[in-house]
């Protein structure tokens, strides 16, 4: 009996040996394949836990990178364009370093969570080029991309201020960070600019991934007479949409709206069984444009290392979604355009913090 078992275990071990042996050879061959492509430009990005299908800025960034890759005839993978998804905080540094080791010419870190990892690795690898979105890293080999979210928020604030019937407007934030404060301050400034009588109720959910909290906050806001809610809360904002859709299903004539964020969220607001959407407009943040621009600049030898590039209305980095015309009347959109011009001309300065707002 003992022999039989021994035989079985031996054969399994040998199989494992064969598999592992095969692995070793494969591993050695790999470096050869990318040696031929050294001259080409390659670019890659590391996402946070959201991944490239988060309906928010990771997805947007990947869209920009894909566009860049396709236009330049690059292939997905080593030597072309690629992404790595992080599954936890500990993966940021490993993933960034992995891209460095695969000789990517430009490496993006998407999101402020990667600030520390990029700062450290940029110092260790001074010859590599890095870029970070939504944060500023002051290193000669890092280009920082930030957005003037307050400017875009101002415009949707104008829409909200002109469209509200109850003069009560809501703002739902994710986590109380300086970044989200920009959304809040710009939005309130926009509302007040066109409708000084309107009040804006502000509430933070404390998380970006708690749709249930978003729904609860939206429910109490709508119940108190608020008719338009602007959310800057990522996944938490999905709860705001689902509450608005639920209310709309119960009473199709109820006039309640949601303003989306980051990407065009018209589809998120679709009421099932109708062709209507509760999404009034969306404040889009063109991470894709910024990523595409920076990759192109770097490819042409103009890498803005050490600089912080800010994308605002002027650069088309933020703005309102094109689908806004479905729910917003033309004269309102006209006024939005006028305000947009004023901001671009510098006639209006949009506040970025609560202190500036006052």
């Amino acid at each position: 009996m003992k022999k039989k078992r021994f035989g079985l275990s031996m054969s399994l071990l040998l199989t494992a040996g064969l598999i592992l042996g095969g692995c070793g050879q494969q591993g050695q061959e790999e470096p050869k394949t990318d040696e031929g492509k050294v001259s080409e430009f390659s670019v890659a990005m590391v996402t946070d836990m959201g991944g490239i299908d988060d309906k928010s800025f990771n997805q947007s960034a990947w869209e920009g990178l894909q566009k860049f890759g396709e236009e330049n005839g690059l292939k997905k993978g080593k030597g072309g364009y690629d992404y790595l998804q992080s599954k936890g905080d500990a993966d940021y540094a490993t993933n960034l370093n992995k891209l460095v080791r695969n000789d990517f010419d430009l490496i993006f870190g998407i999101g402020y969570l990667m600030t520390d990892a990029i700062t450290e690795i940029a110092e260790q690898k001074p010859d590599n080029k890095f870029a970070i979105v939504d944060s500023v890293v002051e290193k000669p080999n890092v280009a920082s991309i930030t957005f003037k979210e307050h400017e875009g928020s101002f415009l949707v604030g104008v829409v909200a201020g002109l469209m509200t019937k109850t003069n009560k407007i809501g703002f739902v934030g994710g986590v109380e960070l300086p970044l989200i404060e920009k959304f809040e301050s710009g939005f309130i400034a926009g509302v007040k600019a066109v409708n000084p009588n309107a009040t804006v109720t502000v509430q933070y959910a404390g998380a970006f991934d708690k749709a249930d909290k978003g729904k609860a906050i939206a429910s109490s806001m709508y119940a108190s007479g608020v008719d338009i809610i602007y959310h800057a809360a990522g996944g938490t904002g999905n709860g705001v949409f689902s509450e608005a859709i639920d209310l709309k299903k119960q009473d199709p004539n109820k006039e309640i709206w949601v303003i989306g964020v980051d990407r065009d969220q018209y589809e998120e607001g679709k009421v099932p069984g109708t062709d209507k959407s509760v999404t009034l407009t969306s404040m889009v943040k063109r991470v894709d444009v910024a990523v595409y621009d920076l990759a192109t600049k770097t490819k042409n030898g103009n890498f803005p290392g050490g600089q912080a590039v800010e994308y605002g209305l002027k650069e088309d980095g933020v703005g309102i979604a094109p689908t806004s015309k479905n729910n917003v009347p033309e004269d309102v959109l006209k006024q939005v355009d006028e305000w947009k011009q004023k901001i671009i001309n510098g006639e209006v300065k949009v506040p970025t913090t609560r202190a500036e707002l006052k």
Partner: protein, 348 residues
């Protein structure tokens, strides 16, 4: 006895191999090349000195988390709260790390001690409730995990930062990192924590196998009533076991706080290290040496898996499935044991 020991070694080995084979089948069925997938995994874990450094860094907390689960288990307790004990340990270590600047010989041990004490406290509460009121430790430890998560988030927000999402970086005098290890592994996040975790493994082995206290702890694990009859203080041993388990878990948190991250940030969810520790302990047969091997396997899987999407085009989701399959077979080692005994009986 020796045959029994052979089975103990064979079962986890079979489990891993089965997991690898089924994982390969899943990759084949989904249209990916399993050999390329596994070679990427292997390369991503050991292919280069940087990756070896990262793997060892990941193994460090796994060893300690595994020891924590196993220690309680040997006394007949399920410590599901390793995750929470790790989080409070992490917080305490960083707190000491940023609060003052001291000479390294004092600062570093003090930070680790703080982490151990925090973990011990988080282990003491469920241990005490179990010993005094017979409240089941599984329920209490699970709840303590959430308390740890949200309390530490609140402390990071209001005490360790000004409404920010992370603490300051700890002073170098409390750091486990070293330039020597970084230059050895081409700037990986490898730190000296691995030595601490290996020492912890030896301590656990010595404590359980070579001391009277360890004998009592194990006796309580085998049979509470018999131990009580033999004159042992069962309640004291339950509390002690949970406290020591918490110490290991707290130190695991210190490894993250003083080595890997050098700060602590607000967490949206659990780190997973504490829960993986349960699987590590299971695979390692709740034995100190086995746990080291199991932790190496888990660390390699975790770090190596990051290479699979880019090198072998295996999507991240499939990587998760393959890793889960390996863990599944490890956890169901009972089945394998059953099959082995059945075979043995048929042989006779």
């Amino acid at each position: 006895m020796s045959e029994n020991r052979l089975t103990n070694i064979l079962v986890p080995v079979f489990a891993v191999i089965l997991g690898i084979i089924v994982g390969a089948i899943v990759m084949l069925v989904s249209g990916y090349d399993p050999i390329a997938g596994y070679s990427a995994l292997l390369y991503g874990a050991f292919g280069d000195r940087y990756y070896i450094g990262e793997t060892i860094r990941q193994v460090t907390p796994y060893i300690l988390a595994g020891l924590a689960v196993a220690f309680a288990f040997r006394t007949g307790l399920f410590n599901i709260g390793v995750e929470g004990q790790l989080i409070v340990g992490w917080l305490a270590a960083v707190w000491v790390g940023v609060a003052f600047e001291l000479p390294k010989v004092i600062h570093l041990p003090l930070a680790i001690f703080a982490a151990a004490a925090a973990g011990a406290l988080w282990g003491f509460i469920p241990g005490f409730l179990k010993a005094r009121f017979r409240v089941h430790e599984v329920i209490v430890t699970i709840m303590m995990n959430y308390i740890a998560l949200y309390v530490s988030n609140a402390v990071i927000r209001s005490v360790l930062s000004d409404q920010g999402f992370k603490s300051e970086k700890i002073y170098p005098s409390a750091s486990l990192r070293s330039e020597f290890l970084q230059s050895l592994t081409d700037y990986s996040t490898l730190h000296y924590g691995i030595i601490i975790s290996l020492i912890a493994a030896v301590v656990m082995w010595f404590l359980l196998e070579k001391t009277t206290t360890g004998y009592e702890l194990r006796a309580v694990g085998f049979n509470q009533h018999a131990s009580h009859y033999a004159g042992m203080n069962v309640n004291r041993n339950i509390v002690l076991s949970m406290v020591i388990s918490g110490v290991f878990a707290g130190i695991a948190g210190a490894m993250e706080g003083l080595g890997t991250f050098e700060n602590v940030s607000v967490k949206a969810g659990f780190t997973g290290v504490g829960f993986d520790g349960i699987a590590v302990a299971l695979l390692g047969g709740n034995h100190a040496f086995g746990i080291i091997l199991a932790a190496i396997l888990f660390g390699a899987l975790k770090v190596g898996a990051l290479e699979m999407p880019s090198a072998a085009d295996v999507p991240t989701e499939l990587v998760d499935i393959v890793i889960a399959l390996i863990i599944f077979f490890v956890a169901s080692s009972y089945l394998i044991r059953l099959v082995l005994t059945r075979l043995k009986k048929e042989g006779k």
